[in-house]
Amino acid sequence: MSPEGPHRALAGSIQKRLSPGFALDVQVSAPAGITIVFGESGSGKTTLLRCLAGLDRPDAGRIVVGERVLFDSPSGCNVSARDRGVGFVFQQLALFPHLSVRDNIRYGLHRLSPEVRAERTRAVAESFRIDHLLDRKPSAVSGGERQRTALARALVTDPDLLLLDEPLSALDHATQSRIMADLRAWNTAHAIPILYVTHAHREVFALGERVMVLDAGRVLAEGTTHDVMEAPAHEPLAQLAGFENFFDGAVVARRPDAGTMQCRLAQAGIPLEVPLSHATEGEAVRIAIRAGDILLANQEPRGLSARNILRGRVRSLTREGPTVRADVDAGAAFAVHLTPGACESLRLEEADEVWLIIKTHSCRLVEPSGALS
């Protein structure tokens, strides 16, 4: 029996109306492994997790983990939160204020022998680097330390399903990376479904094999991290996935043999070769390009396979975290990401003339925002 087998998977369909303006209506399926739940603030991520954990009761639906039915509205089955075997890290942590960090962590281990409890508590506290805080109350540790405590408390119970609501948001990158490594190792050892809510692209790519994107209570997209984040079907999804450039255009010519189409951007009539789609000639299309997928050159490139080469001028250069963002006017406004190293080796300055190099397959055809909902 492979631990990755469907017998441990989560499958569910959940409907829940919270207010006249918001209803969750999703199909969720997650195999063993980390599934990232992604979506803007207020899209229903926490609500989904609460329904799965048995803290909110869906209006209708069915939740199954492995062979075990946790909720089924037709039959009225509704396993209580405490019997679901679900580990939950709350967005607001919900640490027990009167218990020490140690007692918080071992709270869920009451069925085990004292030695096992102590050993497991010690091990998880060490791996989350909170072993020096074990005797303090949550009010006497820092925000990030609290978050690690909450995570340790949920992981240590060996749940059948793990629900993490932005578990690393209050941590610095180094600590985040360490805990993500721990979590990946834990995941390999336990092979249970893990739903991991986050807003950080960093965490999406570092942890998730699969992503599920929510928008206004519905599943906007679902699949492997690569499929969802690299080839988003809709503009909202593309925005969430970090695409910065969106253009309106029209199909000029289809080249089915080459698998490409020639388009013309509405702005300045810029020609752009994009991958083939079902769009017919003359049809309007929306094109998304990630800022990191555009290459910059300070002299006209020659002999390149890339078919889209646009001349432009640097408007501004801004440092943004680990990358540099160049805003380039090439008829239309393009945002381009470079590494600081590349920026320096190109000796880029504002107002410099540059060439943008865009691979055909970096241009994604997406449904525009309006087409949704």
Partner: protein, 221 residues
């Protein structure tokens, strides 16, 4: 001075406070967490014993557990002696009368416990029982102490119910409150003052210990 009366009162108050914690905690729990629509009626009922004058309540209790009542007869057939005019009878009457003092502050404290902590406890596999004893109860400690103190002090001081149900039998049901009352009735103010002072001093020490030793107020996160 009537030391046996003081002892009796303390014993009675301690037993009553203990029983009231045992009975009051589940009642308060139910009052706080039940989702029954008509719960508020039950809440009103819990406070009702208070509105009757103690001697009158005592009178009704006496009739209810007295020699002629079914309860009294059942008790007599079990134990060989009546329930009224015994320590046990006093306990029953006092528990009834002080119930609201225990239940109300405890229920109020329960309702202030952050619901997400209760949720967290349940996702950690804790039974309702465990959640109650490990989370709700400790976080409501101040309210529970308030309830226990009110029940204890009120039982020490109560004399109407006790007089009626206990019959003021020296050594058996004559509590210190009745003893002081007797002294005042006999216009023996000096004796009343002495006993009252002793009682006040003793109660003060007990209460100061309770408040001084309790844990610091907790700060929720």
């Amino acid at each position: 001075m009537d030391y046996s009366a003081i002892l009796l009162s303390v014993k009675l108050a301690a037993v009553v406070a203990a029983i009231l914690l045992g009975v009051g905690l589940p009642i308060a729990y139910w009052l706080t967490f039940s989702r029954w629509r008509w719960k508020f009626l039950a809440e009103a009922v819990v406070a009702l014993p208070l509105v009757l004058p103690p001697t009158v309540l005592g009178f009704y209790v006496l009739v209810a557990i007295g020699a002629r009542s079914p309860v009294g007869r059942l008790w007599t057939s079990w134990t060989g002696h009546g329930l009224a005019f015994t320590f046990e009878g006093l306990v029953i009457a006092s528990v009834l009368y002080s119930l609201p003092f225990a239940v109300q502050p405890i229920a109020a404290a329960f309702s202030q416990v952050d619901a997400s902590l209760i949720e967290a406890s349940s996702t950690l596999g804790a039974s309702e029982r465990r959640t109650f004893f490990r989370i709700i109860l400790p976080l409501s400690l101040e309210g529970v102490i308030a309830g226990a103190v009110l029940a204890f002090a009120h039982t020490i001081g109560e004399f109407g119910v006790v007089l009626m149900v206990g019959g003021n039998l020296p050594g058996a049901t004559r509590t210190v409150s009745i003893a002081i009352y007797d002294s005042v009735q006999a216009l023996d103010y000096a004796a009343a003052n002495r006993t009252a002072l002793l009682l006040l001093a003793f109660s003060f020490v007990v209460l100061a210990l309770v408040y001084g030793l309790r844990r610091k107020p907790l700060v929720a996160i």
